[in-house]
């Protein structure tokens, strides 16, 4: 589905990734893991066409995204950023309806089909009851779900999310990632998100992309757990990362 070829990203002389290549399949949830400042957000921006890589190409379904017009790109990749939209008088349903923008006319006229998709998207994230609420009255978790419903309404093959789990408590984090994983598997979408929640990512995602600067490692979750790279990247003095990952893998195996 998504192909990264020889991607180099960074700022000026500061190279974060050099010549990274990988493939991400449809119907899979992929977690993007890495230390702070490793370049997770930058890579997501590059992969969603918001920023240009220093070198290399990103293609979705065989099409180079750099060659896509804005409208075509917006029908291929949707993005949920870390930005919190807390605007008074802005209704949740209207935010989700904005997701239909790539398909509506110059003034944003919605068809019956568009309204149907908006309601389905709200239902999928369990926010139908919030449709008439305004964005300034929502909690972080609720806000995040509305933005995800908006991405679902955009009806793209690829959904990318930048740290969707930050600011959420444990139950909310778990539910949110489960939702993303289910969406990927049941709707055949390619869901890719960056996160700092190792355990939840390893427990619920099919694939893990690991930043080991300046290279990028992309493996199925079980293989990633089996190799030592995660422990190397997140190695911390005073915390037994290897032991933690080993016991985690053992628990996963029993589960």
């Amino acid at each position: 589905m998504i192909a990264l070829d020889d991607i180099t990203i960074g700022y000026g002389r500061d190279i974060l990734l050099r010549g990274a290549s990988c493939r991400i399949e449809a119907g899979k949830a992929t977690a993007l893991l890495g230390r702070n400042g490793a370049g997770k957000s930058t890579l997501l921006r590059v992969m969603s066409g918001m920023a240009k890589p220093i070198a290399g190409t990103v293609s979705v379904g065989g099409r180079d995204i750099a060659a896509m017009r804005p409208r075509e790109l917006s029908r291929t990749v949707s993005l949920v950023t870390t930005e919190r939209v807390r605007m008074p008088n802005l209704y949740c349903r209207d935010v989700v309806a904005l997701g239909r923008a790539p398909y509506t006319n110059w003034v944003g006229r919605m068809s019956d089909r568009d309204y149907e998709i908006v309601e389905q998207s709200l239902a999928l994230v369990g926010m139908s009851a919030y449709a008439r609420r305004t964005m300034d009255t929502m909690s972080d978790g609720e806000c995040q779900r509305i933005m995800i419903a908006r991405a679902l309404a955009q009806d793209t093959q690829v959904i990318m999310l930048d740290e969707p789990t930050s600011f959420l408590d444990l139950p909310n984090r778990y539910e949110l990632v489960s939702l993303l994983a289910t969406t990927a598997r049941e709707r055949g979408k390619c869901v890719l998100f960056s996160t700092h929640e190792l355990d939840i990512a390893l427990m619920l995602c099919d694939t893990v992309m690991l930043f080991d600067n300046p290279s990028l490692l992309c493996l199925p979750t079980s293989e990633m757990l089996a190799c030592d790279r995660l422990a190397q990247v997140f190695d911390t003095r005073g915390f037994d990362m290897r032991g933690y990952l080993r016991s985690f893998a053992a628990r996963q195996g029993r589960g």
């Binding site: 993005l79 349903r93 309601e119």
Partner: protein
């Protein structure tokens, strides 16, 4: 729930329809009051009588009404233009205190006017009064457009909207500095002329000039309508807007062009009329309780027309510059916005 019931459910609804009806009636009433009041010496009753063919002085009444109709039309045009411009700027900059003059349009217009009114006399060029009044409007318009084109060119290299804002404010300061130098060098007579212009006046616009103004403002409003969908997407910020297929840079250019046509034109003909562009969008948000520009743009335009007519009626009957009235009416709204924002944060 049936999808069909959601048509426009959150976008307008009963509240919006009622509000438009009330504001429309209010507009008609205010227009009538504006036409019938003033310091002509003819009472409203005499005017009505003269118009309906009874009583005397029908020609005089016609003249008076003609002048007042032009003035009311100018007030309506200014109200619509500045409100639509202010709404667009507040959304583009995602800042509740943004107004149509944010990018230096009024400084640019003032510079243009100052070059005509202060600069030319300095060079020893005397001007006939009509040439001067037409020239001032033209020069002010060119000045406003020049500042915006300059901001537009420089902001091509600036991705962040905050950078565009800083550049705009800087250009504004440069223009103000040049104006100050011109003022410093000028005679008392041309200084007074310029300071009267900068107080804003909607009574000095003649009917032919009002027509020119209406045509340019109408063009600006058409661009504003074309910007409705981009503006709605920009509510979520530039990144989200881009990810939903918006060409952000092109939309910015479209919106800034619209604001130049709207605010540049009103400033050129009436001087910088303050606070309407800043306050009216907030009043419209309060009335319509909706962030959707399909409601908010027409809403702001109608509220702006109403508010400008109120200001004109007050200015006319109290014999004060319209700018001081708009400030007195606009400042409470701005304070309200600030306090409300403080409460949320």
């Amino acid at each position: 729930m049936n999808a069909a019931t959601h048509h426009g459910s959150t976008t307008c609804g009963r509240r919006g329809g009622m509000a438009f009806a009330v504001l429309g009636v209010l507009l008609a009433v205010l227009l009538a009051v504006d036409l019938l009041t003033g310091d002509s010496g003819m009472s409203p009753r005499d005017l009505i009588a003269a118009l309906s063919g009874r009583g005397e002085g029908a020609p005089l009444a016609g003249t008076i009404l003609g002048i007042r109709a032009t003035r009311a039309a100018v007030a309506v045009i200014v109200g619509a233009a500045l409100s639509a411009g202010g709404l667009q700027m507040q959304t583009v900059f995602r800042n509740p205190l943004a107004d149509p003059y944010l990018l230096g349009i009024s400084s640019g217009a003032s510079l243009g006017a100052a070059l005509m009114m202060l600069g030319l006399p300095l060079l020893g060029a005397g001007l006939s009064s009509t040439a001067l009044s037409l020239g001032i409007a033209g020069a002010a318009w060119v000045g406003a457009a020049a500042v915006l084109v300059a901001v537009g060119i420089v902001s091509r290299w600036v991705k962040n909207i905050l950078g565009v804002l800083i550049i705009g404010v800087m250009f504004g300061y440069v223009a103000s500095a040049i104006i100050q130098i011109l003022q410093y060098l000028s005679s008392a007579e041309s200084l007074k002329l310029f300071s009267l212009w900068s107080m804003g006046a909607i009574g000095n616009v003649t009917a032919p000039k009002a027509v020119v103004m209406a045509v340019i403002v109408a063009a600006g409003l058409v661009l504003a309508v074309i910007s409705i969908k981009p503006l709605n997407l920009l509510l979520l910020g530039e990144d989200y807007a881009r990810s939903m297929g918006l060409d952000v840079r092109r939309s910015r250019t479209l919106i800034f062009t619209s604001v130049t046509l709207l605010a540049g034109t009103t400033t050129a003909f009436c001087g910088p009329v303050g606070f309407i562009g800043l306050a009216v969008p907030h009043v419209a948000r309060m009335i319509f309780a909706n962030a959707d520009h399909r409601v908010l743009l027409p809403g702001s335009i109608v509220v702006g027309m109403d508010m400008m007519l109120v200001c004109d009626i007050l200015a006319k009957n109290l014999v004060l510059p319209v700018n001081s009235i708009t400030a007195l009416m606009g400042i409470p709204v701005i304070l309200w916005v600030i306090f409300r924002n403080l409460r949320i944060v």
